[in-house]
Symmetry: C2
Protein backbone atom coordinates (compact mmCIF):
# COMPACT_ATOMS: atom_id res chain seq x y z
CA UNK A 1 0.00 0.00 0.00
CA UNK A 2 1.03 3.56 -0.69
CA UNK A 3 0.41 5.69 2.41
CA UNK A 4 -0.28 9.38 1.89
CA UNK A 5 -0.63 12.11 4.48
CA UNK A 6 -2.82 14.85 2.94
CA UNK A 7 -0.50 17.43 4.51
CA UNK A 8 2.41 16.10 2.44
CA UNK A 9 0.83 16.53 -1.01
CA UNK A 10 -0.94 19.40 -2.80
CA UNK A 11 -4.66 19.90 -2.24
CA UNK A 12 -5.24 19.22 -5.95
CA UNK A 13 -3.36 15.92 -5.71
CA UNK A 14 -5.25 14.70 -2.64
CA UNK A 15 -8.51 15.93 -4.23
CA UNK A 16 -7.77 13.66 -7.16
CA UNK A 17 -7.14 10.62 -4.90
CA UNK A 18 -10.38 11.27 -2.97
CA UNK A 19 -12.46 11.57 -6.15
CA UNK A 20 -10.83 8.50 -7.66
CA UNK A 21 -11.44 6.40 -4.54
CA UNK A 22 -14.88 7.52 -3.35
CA UNK A 23 -16.86 6.41 -6.37
CA UNK A 24 -19.28 6.08 -8.06
CA UNK A 25 -20.88 9.24 -6.60
CA UNK A 26 -24.56 10.10 -7.26
CA UNK A 27 -25.24 13.46 -8.90
CA UNK A 28 -27.40 16.26 -7.47
CA UNK A 29 -28.47 18.43 -10.40
CA UNK A 30 -29.36 21.42 -8.24
CA UNK A 31 -31.68 24.24 -9.24
CA UNK A 32 -31.49 27.40 -7.10
CA UNK A 33 -32.49 31.08 -7.34
CA UNK A 34 -30.90 34.28 -6.04
CA UNK A 35 -32.94 36.96 -4.27
CA UNK A 36 -33.71 38.62 -7.62
CA UNK A 37 -35.13 35.30 -8.85
CA UNK A 38 -32.30 34.53 -11.31
CA UNK A 39 -32.17 30.76 -11.81
CA UNK A 40 -29.02 28.61 -11.58
CA UNK A 41 -28.69 24.93 -12.47
CA UNK A 42 -25.52 23.01 -11.64
CA UNK A 43 -24.43 19.39 -10.97
CA UNK A 44 -22.70 18.30 -7.73
CA UNK A 45 -21.29 14.85 -7.01
CA UNK A 46 -20.46 15.63 -3.37
CA UNK A 47 -23.98 14.47 -2.60
CA UNK A 48 -26.09 11.74 -1.06
CA UNK A 49 -29.18 10.86 0.96
CA UNK A 50 -28.44 10.69 4.69
CA UNK A 51 -31.69 10.03 6.49
CA UNK A 52 -35.40 9.52 5.90
CA UNK A 53 -37.12 10.99 8.99
CA UNK A 54 -36.97 13.81 8.12
CA UNK A 55 -35.84 12.94 4.59
CA UNK A 56 -32.41 14.57 4.31
CA UNK A 57 -30.23 15.16 1.25
CA UNK A 58 -26.82 16.82 1.58
CA UNK A 59 -24.69 18.30 -1.19
CA UNK A 60 -21.54 20.36 -1.08
CA UNK A 61 -20.77 23.23 -3.44
CA UNK A 62 -17.20 23.26 -2.14
CA UNK A 63 -14.93 26.27 -2.49
CA UNK A 64 -12.90 26.00 -5.69
CA UNK A 65 -9.47 24.41 -5.23
CA UNK A 66 -7.80 26.69 -7.77
CA UNK A 67 -8.85 30.14 -6.51
CA UNK A 68 -11.00 29.67 -3.36
CA UNK A 69 -14.04 31.29 -4.98
CA UNK A 70 -17.57 30.08 -4.20
CA UNK A 71 -20.13 28.73 -6.63
CA UNK A 72 -23.35 30.53 -7.58
CA UNK A 73 -25.39 27.64 -6.13
CA UNK A 74 -23.89 28.29 -2.69
CA UNK A 75 -24.44 32.06 -2.94
CA UNK A 76 -28.04 31.36 -3.97
CA UNK A 77 -28.98 29.01 -1.11
CA UNK A 78 -27.54 31.54 1.32
CA UNK A 79 -29.89 34.15 -0.21
CA UNK A 80 -32.91 31.89 -0.79
CA UNK A 81 -32.68 28.68 1.31
CA UNK A 82 -34.47 26.44 -1.16
CA UNK A 83 -33.28 24.00 -3.82
CA UNK A 84 -34.67 21.43 -6.23
CA UNK A 85 -32.39 18.40 -6.49
CA UNK A 86 -32.96 16.64 -9.81
CA UNK A 87 -31.63 13.16 -10.55
CA UNK A 88 -29.78 12.52 -13.83
CA UNK A 89 -30.48 9.70 -16.30
CA UNK A 90 -27.95 8.64 -18.92
CA UNK A 91 -29.95 10.38 -21.66
CA UNK A 92 -29.37 13.72 -19.86
CA UNK A 93 -25.66 13.44 -19.11
CA UNK A 94 -24.10 15.58 -21.89
CA UNK A 95 -26.55 18.42 -21.34
CA UNK A 96 -25.90 18.14 -17.60
CA UNK A 97 -22.15 18.32 -18.22
CA UNK A 98 -22.72 21.45 -20.32
CA UNK A 99 -24.66 22.98 -17.37
CA UNK A 100 -21.49 22.61 -15.26
CA UNK A 101 -19.82 25.29 -17.43
CA UNK A 102 -18.91 28.31 -15.34
CA UNK A 103 -21.13 30.84 -17.07
CA UNK A 104 -21.35 34.32 -15.56
CA UNK A 105 -23.71 34.96 -12.64
CA UNK A 106 -27.22 35.57 -13.91
CA UNK A 107 -26.89 33.14 -16.84
CA UNK A 108 -29.63 30.53 -16.63
CA UNK A 109 -28.11 27.08 -17.23
CA UNK A 110 -31.57 25.67 -18.03
CA UNK A 111 -31.38 27.76 -21.20
CA UNK A 112 -27.72 27.04 -21.95
CA UNK A 113 -28.08 23.28 -21.48
CA UNK A 114 -31.44 23.07 -23.22
CA UNK A 115 -33.47 21.70 -20.32
CA UNK A 116 -37.03 22.83 -19.61
CA UNK A 117 -38.12 24.58 -16.42
CA UNK A 118 -41.19 23.12 -14.71
CA UNK A 119 -42.64 25.16 -11.87
CA UNK A 120 -42.17 23.76 -8.40
CA UNK A 121 -45.11 23.55 -6.01
CA UNK A 122 -43.58 24.46 -2.65
CA UNK A 123 -40.31 26.23 -3.50
CA UNK A 124 -39.15 29.02 -5.83
CA UNK A 125 -36.49 27.24 -7.93
CA UNK A 126 -37.97 25.37 -10.91
CA UNK A 127 -37.38 21.66 -11.41
CA UNK A 128 -35.88 20.03 -14.51
CA UNK A 129 -38.85 18.74 -16.48
CA UNK A 130 -36.74 16.05 -18.20
CA UNK A 131 -35.41 14.59 -14.91
CA UNK A 132 -36.80 11.17 -13.85
CA UNK A 133 -36.92 12.34 -10.20
CA UNK A 134 -36.91 15.81 -8.62
CA UNK A 135 -36.91 16.67 -4.91
CA UNK A 136 -38.25 20.04 -3.77
CA UNK A 137 -36.23 20.92 -0.66
CA UNK A 138 -35.84 23.56 1.99
CA UNK A 139 -32.29 24.19 3.22
CA UNK A 140 -32.08 23.46 6.96
CA UNK A 141 -28.47 24.53 7.41
CA UNK A 142 -25.31 25.40 5.49
CA UNK A 143 -22.33 24.04 7.40
CA UNK A 144 -18.88 25.15 6.19
CA UNK A 145 -15.97 22.87 7.14
CA UNK A 146 -12.78 24.85 6.61
CA UNK A 147 -12.43 28.11 4.70
CA UNK A 148 -9.65 27.57 2.16
CA UNK A 149 -9.89 26.48 -1.48
CA UNK A 150 -11.45 23.01 -1.68
CA UNK A 151 -13.24 23.28 1.67
CA UNK A 152 -16.70 21.78 2.11
CA UNK A 153 -20.01 23.57 2.52
CA UNK A 154 -22.59 21.02 3.62
CA UNK A 155 -25.95 22.17 2.31
CA UNK A 156 -28.31 20.12 4.48
CA UNK A 157 -31.71 19.87 2.81
CA UNK A 158 -35.06 18.51 3.94
CA UNK A 159 -37.18 17.01 1.15
CA UNK A 160 -40.63 18.62 1.11
CA UNK A 161 -41.95 16.95 -2.04
CA UNK A 162 -40.77 14.27 -4.46
CA UNK A 163 -41.70 14.11 -8.16
CA UNK A 164 -41.12 10.69 -9.70
CA UNK A 165 -41.75 9.82 -13.35
CA UNK A 166 -44.23 6.95 -13.66
CA UNK A 167 -42.01 5.59 -16.42
CA UNK A 168 -39.33 4.50 -13.93
CA UNK A 169 -41.73 2.78 -11.50
CA UNK A 170 -42.36 -0.98 -11.56
CA UNK A 171 -45.66 -2.77 -10.91
CA UNK A 172 -45.02 -2.60 -7.13
CA UNK A 173 -44.64 1.20 -7.31
CA UNK A 174 -40.88 0.92 -6.65
CA UNK A 175 -38.17 2.65 -8.67
CA UNK A 176 -36.72 0.18 -11.20
CA UNK A 177 -32.94 0.79 -11.45
CA UNK A 178 -32.85 -0.32 -15.11
CA UNK A 179 -35.54 2.21 -16.00
CA UNK A 180 -33.86 4.94 -13.91
CA UNK A 181 -30.64 4.41 -15.93
CA UNK A 182 -28.72 6.67 -13.52
CA UNK A 183 -25.29 8.13 -14.09
CA UNK A 184 -22.73 8.83 -11.37
CA UNK A 185 -19.31 10.47 -11.16
CA UNK A 186 -15.97 8.73 -10.81
CA UNK A 187 -12.51 10.33 -10.67
CA UNK A 188 -11.09 12.48 -13.49
CA UNK A 189 -13.46 12.74 -16.44
CA UNK A 190 -15.02 9.33 -15.73
CA UNK A 191 -18.69 8.57 -15.26
CA UNK A 192 -20.50 5.34 -14.43
CA UNK A 193 -23.77 4.32 -16.06
CA UNK A 194 -25.83 2.14 -13.69
CA UNK A 195 -27.57 -0.15 -16.15
CA UNK A 196 -27.45 -3.53 -17.88
CA UNK A 197 -24.86 -5.97 -16.61
CA UNK A 198 -23.44 -3.41 -14.16
CA UNK A 199 -26.49 -4.05 -11.94
CA UNK A 200 -26.68 -7.11 -9.67
CA UNK A 201 -28.53 -8.15 -6.52
CA UNK A 202 -27.46 -9.43 -3.11
CA UNK A 203 -30.21 -10.15 -0.58
CA UNK A 204 -29.72 -8.10 2.59
CA UNK A 205 -28.93 -10.32 5.60
CA UNK A 206 -31.62 -8.65 7.72
CA UNK A 207 -33.62 -11.56 9.05
CA UNK A 208 -30.89 -14.18 9.27
CA UNK A 209 -27.55 -14.30 11.03
CA UNK A 210 -25.09 -16.23 8.89
CA UNK A 211 -22.61 -18.62 10.51
CA UNK A 212 -19.79 -16.35 9.34
CA UNK A 213 -16.68 -17.09 7.32
CA UNK A 214 -14.96 -17.99 10.63
CA UNK A 215 -17.22 -21.05 10.96
CA UNK A 216 -16.45 -22.43 7.49
CA UNK A 217 -14.19 -25.49 7.93
CA UNK A 218 -10.55 -24.57 7.15
CA UNK A 219 -10.20 -27.07 4.26
CA UNK A 220 -13.07 -25.23 2.49
CA UNK A 221 -12.07 -21.74 3.61
CA UNK A 222 -8.54 -22.21 2.31
CA UNK A 223 -9.72 -23.54 -1.05
CA UNK A 224 -7.69 -22.34 -4.01
CA UNK A 225 -10.86 -22.44 -6.13
CA UNK A 226 -13.34 -20.49 -4.01
CA UNK A 227 -13.19 -16.67 -4.05
CA UNK A 228 -13.86 -14.23 -1.23
CA UNK A 229 -17.32 -13.66 -2.71
CA UNK A 230 -17.96 -17.44 -2.64
CA UNK A 231 -16.89 -17.61 1.03
CA UNK A 232 -19.04 -14.58 1.87
CA UNK A 233 -22.07 -16.34 0.41
CA UNK A 234 -21.30 -19.63 2.20
CA UNK A 235 -20.83 -17.73 5.47
CA UNK A 236 -24.19 -16.02 5.05
CA UNK A 237 -25.91 -19.43 5.45
CA UNK A 238 -27.62 -19.86 8.82
CA UNK A 239 -26.85 -23.53 9.21
CA UNK A 240 -24.51 -26.05 7.58
CA UNK A 241 -26.36 -29.12 6.26
CA UNK A 242 -26.22 -32.02 8.71
CA UNK A 243 -24.20 -35.21 8.12
CA UNK A 244 -27.29 -37.19 7.13
CA UNK A 245 -28.21 -34.62 4.43
CA UNK A 246 -24.64 -34.60 3.12
CA UNK A 247 -24.65 -38.41 3.01
CA UNK A 248 -28.00 -38.41 1.19
CA UNK A 249 -26.44 -36.18 -1.49
CA UNK A 250 -23.42 -38.43 -2.08
CA UNK A 251 -25.33 -40.44 -4.67
CA UNK A 252 -25.37 -37.41 -7.01
CA UNK A 253 -24.11 -38.68 -10.35
CA UNK A 254 -21.62 -35.83 -10.92
CA UNK A 255 -19.94 -36.61 -7.60
CA UNK A 256 -20.04 -40.37 -8.29
CA UNK A 257 -18.29 -39.82 -11.61
CA UNK A 258 -15.64 -37.62 -9.98
CA UNK A 259 -15.00 -40.30 -7.38
CA UNK A 260 -14.35 -42.87 -10.09
CA UNK A 261 -12.32 -40.54 -12.28
CA UNK A 262 -10.06 -39.23 -9.50
CA UNK A 263 -9.98 -42.38 -7.39
CA UNK A 264 -6.25 -42.15 -6.64
CA UNK A 265 -5.83 -38.40 -7.02
CA UNK A 266 -7.19 -36.59 -4.00
CA UNK A 267 -5.92 -33.18 -5.14
CA UNK A 268 -7.74 -33.35 -8.49
CA UNK A 269 -10.88 -34.64 -6.79
CA UNK A 270 -10.89 -31.67 -4.39
CA UNK A 271 -10.24 -29.23 -7.22
CA UNK A 272 -13.13 -30.51 -9.36
CA UNK A 273 -15.44 -30.80 -6.35
CA UNK A 274 -14.79 -27.14 -5.48
CA UNK A 275 -15.25 -26.07 -9.11
CA UNK A 276 -18.60 -27.86 -9.13
CA UNK A 277 -19.64 -26.32 -5.79
CA UNK A 278 -18.59 -22.87 -7.00
CA UNK A 279 -20.78 -23.21 -10.08
CA UNK A 280 -23.80 -24.30 -8.01
CA UNK A 281 -23.14 -21.54 -5.46
CA UNK A 282 -22.96 -18.84 -8.11
CA UNK A 283 -26.23 -20.07 -9.59
CA UNK A 284 -27.73 -19.22 -6.18
CA UNK A 285 -28.15 -22.65 -4.54
CA UNK A 286 -26.13 -22.20 -1.34
CA UNK A 287 -27.40 -25.30 0.48
CA UNK A 288 -26.52 -27.65 -2.38
CA UNK A 289 -23.10 -26.00 -2.68
CA UNK A 290 -22.53 -26.78 0.99
CA UNK A 291 -23.58 -30.41 0.46
CA UNK A 292 -21.10 -30.73 -2.38
CA UNK A 293 -18.22 -29.15 -0.45
CA UNK A 294 -18.84 -31.37 2.56
CA UNK A 295 -18.43 -34.52 0.44
CA UNK A 296 -14.73 -33.89 0.64
CA UNK A 297 -14.48 -35.16 4.20
CA UNK A 298 -14.96 -38.78 3.13
CA UNK B 1 -45.01 12.70 -12.79
CA UNK B 2 -46.21 11.20 -9.54
CA UNK B 3 -45.93 13.79 -6.75
CA UNK B 4 -45.40 12.51 -3.22
CA UNK B 5 -45.41 14.46 0.02
CA UNK B 6 -43.27 12.49 2.50
CA UNK B 7 -45.82 13.32 5.21
CA UNK B 8 -48.52 11.43 3.25
CA UNK B 9 -46.73 8.06 3.04
CA UNK B 10 -45.01 5.79 5.57
CA UNK B 11 -41.37 6.44 6.45
CA UNK B 12 -40.49 3.01 5.04
CA UNK B 13 -42.18 3.85 1.72
CA UNK B 14 -40.43 7.22 1.33
CA UNK B 15 -37.16 5.60 2.43
CA UNK B 16 -37.55 3.18 -0.45
CA UNK B 17 -38.17 6.01 -2.98
CA UNK B 18 -35.12 7.93 -1.71
CA UNK B 19 -32.85 4.89 -1.95
CA UNK B 20 -34.18 4.00 -5.39
CA UNK B 21 -33.68 7.53 -6.72
CA UNK B 22 -30.40 8.65 -5.13
CA UNK B 23 -28.17 6.04 -6.72
CA UNK B 24 -25.60 4.61 -7.23
CA UNK B 25 -24.29 5.42 -3.73
CA UNK B 26 -20.64 4.80 -2.79
CA UNK B 27 -20.03 2.49 0.19
CA UNK B 28 -18.13 3.40 3.37
CA UNK B 29 -16.98 0.14 4.93
CA UNK B 30 -16.42 1.63 8.38
CA UNK B 31 -14.19 0.16 11.08
CA UNK B 32 -14.70 1.56 14.60
CA UNK B 33 -13.90 0.56 18.19
CA UNK B 34 -15.75 1.04 21.49
CA UNK B 35 -14.00 2.29 24.62
CA UNK B 36 -13.07 -1.31 25.58
CA UNK B 37 -11.40 -1.69 22.18
CA UNK B 38 -14.00 -4.08 20.69
CA UNK B 39 -13.88 -3.75 16.91
CA UNK B 40 -16.91 -3.22 14.65
CA UNK B 41 -16.98 -3.30 10.83
CA UNK B 42 -20.09 -2.26 8.93
CA UNK B 43 -21.02 -0.87 5.48
CA UNK B 44 -22.90 2.42 4.98
CA UNK B 45 -24.18 3.82 1.69
CA UNK B 46 -25.29 7.16 3.16
CA UNK B 47 -21.78 8.34 2.44
CA UNK B 48 -19.62 10.55 0.26
CA UNK B 49 -16.64 12.88 0.04
CA UNK B 50 -17.64 16.52 0.63
CA UNK B 51 -14.48 18.60 0.60
CA UNK B 52 -10.72 18.34 0.24
CA UNK B 53 -9.32 21.14 2.46
CA UNK B 54 -9.57 19.66 5.00
CA UNK B 55 -10.39 16.35 3.32
CA UNK B 56 -13.88 15.52 4.62
CA UNK B 57 -15.86 12.29 4.37
CA UNK B 58 -19.37 12.07 5.83
CA UNK B 59 -21.38 8.91 6.52
CA UNK B 60 -24.66 8.41 8.35
CA UNK B 61 -25.41 5.43 10.56
CA UNK B 62 -29.05 6.49 10.63
CA UNK B 63 -31.47 5.35 13.33
CA UNK B 64 -33.25 2.17 12.23
CA UNK B 65 -36.60 2.79 10.52
CA UNK B 66 -38.20 -0.28 12.06
CA UNK B 67 -37.43 0.25 15.78
CA UNK B 68 -35.52 3.55 16.15
CA UNK B 69 -32.46 1.78 17.61
CA UNK B 70 -28.93 3.00 16.85
CA UNK B 71 -26.13 1.07 15.22
CA UNK B 72 -22.95 -0.06 16.98
CA UNK B 73 -20.86 2.09 14.63
CA UNK B 74 -22.65 5.21 15.89
CA UNK B 75 -22.28 4.18 19.55
CA UNK B 76 -18.58 3.54 18.90
CA UNK B 77 -17.71 6.88 17.28
CA UNK B 78 -19.47 8.61 20.17
CA UNK B 79 -17.15 6.70 22.56
CA UNK B 80 -13.98 6.80 20.43
CA UNK B 81 -14.19 9.52 17.73
CA UNK B 82 -12.11 7.71 15.14
CA UNK B 83 -12.96 5.59 12.10
CA UNK B 84 -11.26 3.88 9.19
CA UNK B 85 -13.35 4.16 6.02
CA UNK B 86 -12.46 1.35 3.63
CA UNK B 87 -13.54 1.31 -0.02
CA UNK B 88 -15.10 -1.84 -1.47
CA UNK B 89 -14.08 -3.59 -4.70
CA UNK B 90 -16.36 -6.05 -6.47
CA UNK B 91 -14.27 -8.99 -5.22
CA UNK B 92 -15.16 -8.01 -1.62
CA UNK B 93 -18.89 -7.44 -2.01
CA UNK B 94 -20.37 -10.67 -0.63
CA UNK B 95 -18.14 -10.63 2.44
CA UNK B 96 -19.03 -6.96 2.93
CA UNK B 97 -22.72 -7.81 2.71
CA UNK B 98 -22.19 -10.52 5.35
CA UNK B 99 -20.55 -7.88 7.61
CA UNK B 100 -23.83 -5.92 7.49
CA UNK B 101 -25.49 -8.72 9.51
CA UNK B 102 -26.70 -7.39 12.85
CA UNK B 103 -24.51 -9.49 15.09
CA UNK B 104 -24.58 -8.79 18.84
CA UNK B 105 -22.48 -5.95 20.24
CA UNK B 106 -18.93 -7.13 20.81
CA UNK B 107 -18.93 -9.47 17.79
CA UNK B 108 -16.06 -8.53 15.46
CA UNK B 109 -17.33 -8.44 11.87
CA UNK B 110 -13.76 -8.72 10.55
CA UNK B 111 -13.84 -12.28 11.92
CA UNK B 112 -17.40 -13.06 10.79
CA UNK B 113 -16.85 -11.76 7.25
CA UNK B 114 -13.37 -13.22 6.91
CA UNK B 115 -11.48 -9.97 6.33
CA UNK B 116 -8.05 -9.32 7.84
CA UNK B 117 -7.30 -6.53 10.29
CA UNK B 118 -4.28 -4.39 9.45
CA UNK B 119 -3.12 -1.98 12.16
CA UNK B 120 -3.77 1.68 11.49
CA UNK B 121 -1.00 4.22 12.01
CA UNK B 122 -2.80 7.22 13.52
CA UNK B 123 -6.12 5.82 14.84
CA UNK B 124 -7.23 2.87 16.97
CA UNK B 125 -9.66 1.07 14.59
CA UNK B 126 -7.88 -1.34 12.24
CA UNK B 127 -8.21 -1.06 8.48
CA UNK B 128 -9.39 -3.81 6.12
CA UNK B 129 -6.22 -5.28 4.65
CA UNK B 130 -8.07 -6.49 1.50
CA UNK B 131 -9.54 -3.03 0.70
CA UNK B 132 -8.04 -1.16 -2.29
CA UNK B 133 -8.23 2.14 -0.37
CA UNK B 134 -8.55 2.92 3.34
CA UNK B 135 -8.86 6.34 4.98
CA UNK B 136 -7.80 6.79 8.61
CA UNK B 137 -10.07 9.52 9.99
CA UNK B 138 -10.81 11.50 13.11
CA UNK B 139 -14.46 12.34 13.74
CA UNK B 140 -14.88 16.13 13.80
CA UNK B 141 -18.57 16.15 14.70
CA UNK B 142 -21.63 13.90 14.92
CA UNK B 143 -24.66 15.89 13.79
CA UNK B 144 -28.08 14.28 14.39
CA UNK B 145 -30.92 15.54 12.16
CA UNK B 146 -34.16 14.40 13.74
CA UNK B 147 -34.56 11.83 16.48
CA UNK B 148 -37.12 9.31 15.21
CA UNK B 149 -36.57 6.02 13.41
CA UNK B 150 -34.81 6.68 10.09
CA UNK B 151 -33.28 9.97 11.20
CA UNK B 152 -29.77 10.91 10.07
CA UNK B 153 -26.61 11.12 12.13
CA UNK B 154 -23.98 12.88 10.06
CA UNK B 155 -20.59 11.54 11.14
CA UNK B 156 -18.29 14.24 9.77
CA UNK B 157 -14.76 12.87 9.40
CA UNK B 158 -11.42 14.45 8.56
CA UNK B 159 -9.05 12.17 6.64
CA UNK B 160 -5.69 11.98 8.43
CA UNK B 161 -4.05 9.36 6.23
CA UNK B 162 -4.91 7.52 3.01
CA UNK B 163 -3.73 4.01 2.12
CA UNK B 164 -3.99 3.22 -1.59
CA UNK B 165 -3.08 -0.10 -3.18
CA UNK B 166 -0.41 0.36 -5.85
CA UNK B 167 -2.36 -2.15 -7.93
CA UNK B 168 -5.15 0.35 -8.66
CA UNK B 169 -2.82 3.23 -9.64
CA UNK B 170 -1.99 4.03 -13.25
CA UNK B 171 1.35 5.23 -14.64
CA UNK B 172 0.47 8.83 -13.71
CA UNK B 173 -0.13 7.81 -10.07
CA UNK B 174 -3.90 8.31 -10.47
CA UNK B 175 -6.57 5.81 -9.41
CA UNK B 176 -7.69 3.81 -12.46
CA UNK B 177 -11.46 3.22 -12.18
CA UNK B 178 -11.24 -0.11 -14.06
CA UNK B 179 -8.64 -1.38 -11.59
CA UNK B 180 -10.61 -0.04 -8.61
CA UNK B 181 -13.66 -2.07 -9.76
CA UNK B 182 -15.85 -0.33 -7.17
CA UNK B 183 -19.33 -1.38 -6.11
CA UNK B 184 -22.10 0.97 -5.02
CA UNK B 185 -25.60 0.60 -3.62
CA UNK B 186 -28.85 1.16 -5.46
CA UNK B 187 -32.41 0.75 -4.13
CA UNK B 188 -33.74 -2.55 -2.74
CA UNK B 189 -31.18 -5.34 -2.95
CA UNK B 190 -29.49 -3.82 -6.02
CA UNK B 191 -25.82 -2.99 -6.42
CA UNK B 192 -23.92 -1.37 -9.24
CA UNK B 193 -20.48 -2.56 -10.36
CA UNK B 194 -18.47 0.33 -11.84
CA UNK B 195 -16.43 -1.45 -14.48
CA UNK B 196 -16.26 -2.41 -18.14
CA UNK B 197 -18.78 -0.77 -20.42
CA UNK B 198 -20.50 0.98 -17.50
CA UNK B 199 -17.58 3.44 -17.45
CA UNK B 200 -17.38 6.33 -19.89
CA UNK B 201 -15.70 9.74 -20.12
CA UNK B 202 -16.94 13.28 -20.71
CA UNK B 203 -14.35 16.05 -20.67
CA UNK B 204 -15.18 18.67 -18.04
CA UNK B 205 -16.04 22.05 -19.60
CA UNK B 206 -13.60 23.89 -17.32
CA UNK B 207 -11.53 25.91 -19.75
CA UNK B 208 -14.12 26.54 -22.43
CA UNK B 209 -17.56 28.11 -22.41
CA UNK B 210 -19.75 26.32 -24.89
CA UNK B 211 -22.19 28.27 -27.07
CA UNK B 212 -25.04 26.46 -25.31
CA UNK B 213 -27.98 24.50 -26.70
CA UNK B 214 -29.85 27.81 -26.97
CA UNK B 215 -27.46 28.93 -29.72
CA UNK B 216 -27.92 25.82 -31.85
CA UNK B 217 -30.03 26.81 -34.91
CA UNK B 218 -33.64 25.61 -34.42
CA UNK B 219 -33.64 23.35 -37.50
CA UNK B 220 -30.78 21.37 -35.90
CA UNK B 221 -32.04 21.66 -32.32
CA UNK B 222 -35.45 20.28 -33.29
CA UNK B 223 -33.97 17.37 -35.23
CA UNK B 224 -35.85 14.11 -34.83
CA UNK B 225 -32.55 12.24 -35.18
CA UNK B 226 -30.33 14.02 -32.65
CA UNK B 227 -30.68 13.14 -28.96
CA UNK B 228 -30.34 15.39 -25.92
CA UNK B 229 -26.82 14.01 -25.44
CA UNK B 230 -26.00 14.96 -29.07
CA UNK B 231 -27.30 18.50 -28.51
CA UNK B 232 -25.37 18.77 -25.23
CA UNK B 233 -22.16 17.91 -27.06
CA UNK B 234 -22.88 20.33 -29.93
CA UNK B 235 -23.68 23.07 -27.41
CA UNK B 236 -20.40 22.47 -25.60
CA UNK B 237 -18.53 23.71 -28.71
CA UNK B 238 -17.01 27.18 -28.30
CA UNK B 239 -17.63 28.31 -31.85
CA UNK B 240 -19.70 27.15 -34.79
CA UNK B 241 -17.60 26.64 -37.97
CA UNK B 242 -17.77 29.66 -40.27
CA UNK B 243 -19.57 29.65 -43.64
CA UNK B 244 -16.32 29.33 -45.58
CA UNK B 245 -15.36 26.20 -43.61
CA UNK B 246 -18.82 24.70 -44.11
CA UNK B 247 -18.59 25.43 -47.83
CA UNK B 248 -15.13 23.83 -48.00
CA UNK B 249 -16.61 20.66 -46.51
CA UNK B 250 -19.47 20.40 -49.02
CA UNK B 251 -17.27 18.41 -51.40
CA UNK B 252 -17.23 15.48 -48.95
CA UNK B 253 -18.18 12.43 -51.00
CA UNK B 254 -20.79 11.12 -48.52
CA UNK B 255 -22.63 14.43 -48.69
CA UNK B 256 -22.28 14.58 -52.48
CA UNK B 257 -23.82 11.13 -52.78
CA UNK B 258 -26.68 12.10 -50.46
CA UNK B 259 -27.35 15.18 -52.58
CA UNK B 260 -27.66 13.07 -55.71
CA UNK B 261 -29.65 10.29 -54.05
CA UNK B 262 -32.16 12.57 -52.34
CA UNK B 263 -32.24 15.32 -54.97
CA UNK B 264 -36.00 15.79 -54.83
CA UNK B 265 -36.61 14.59 -51.28
CA UNK B 266 -35.57 17.22 -48.78
CA UNK B 267 -36.94 15.29 -45.80
CA UNK B 268 -34.89 12.17 -46.53
CA UNK B 269 -31.81 14.28 -47.22
CA UNK B 270 -32.12 15.97 -43.81
CA UNK B 271 -32.71 12.64 -42.09
CA UNK B 272 -29.62 11.01 -43.60
CA UNK B 273 -27.51 14.12 -43.06
CA UNK B 274 -28.43 14.13 -39.36
CA UNK B 275 -27.78 10.39 -39.05
CA UNK B 276 -24.32 10.95 -40.57
CA UNK B 277 -23.61 13.93 -38.27
CA UNK B 278 -24.76 11.92 -35.24
CA UNK B 279 -22.34 9.12 -36.09
CA UNK B 280 -19.42 11.54 -36.50
CA UNK B 281 -20.41 13.38 -33.31
CA UNK B 282 -20.54 10.20 -31.25
CA UNK B 283 -17.12 9.22 -32.54
CA UNK B 284 -15.91 12.44 -30.89
CA UNK B 285 -15.42 14.80 -33.86
CA UNK B 286 -17.68 17.71 -32.88
CA UNK B 287 -16.37 20.21 -35.41
CA UNK B 288 -16.93 17.90 -38.38
CA UNK B 289 -20.40 17.06 -37.06
CA UNK B 290 -21.17 20.79 -37.08
CA UNK B 291 -19.88 21.12 -40.67
CA UNK B 292 -22.16 18.28 -41.74
CA UNK B 293 -25.23 19.66 -39.99
CA UNK B 294 -24.71 23.12 -41.47
CA UNK B 295 -24.83 21.72 -45.03
CA UNK B 296 -28.55 21.57 -44.63
CA UNK B 297 -29.01 25.28 -45.15
CA UNK B 298 -28.25 25.03 -48.86
Amino acid sequence: MKTINPKDVSIAQFHSYLLGAVAPRPIAFASTVDKEGNVNLSPFSFFNVFGTNPPVLVFSPSRRVRDNTTKHSLDNVLEVPEVVINMVSFCMVEQMSLASTEYEKGVNEFVKSGFSEASSILVKPPRVKEAPVAFECKVLQVLPIGEGGGSANLVICEVLLAHISEQILDEKDQINPFKLDAVARMGGDWYCRAHGEALFEIAKPIRNKGIGVDNIPPYIRNSTVLTGNNLGRLGNCEQIPEAVEVEAYSGNHVIQEMKIRFKNDRESFDFHLHEYAKQVLESGDVITAWKILLQEKE
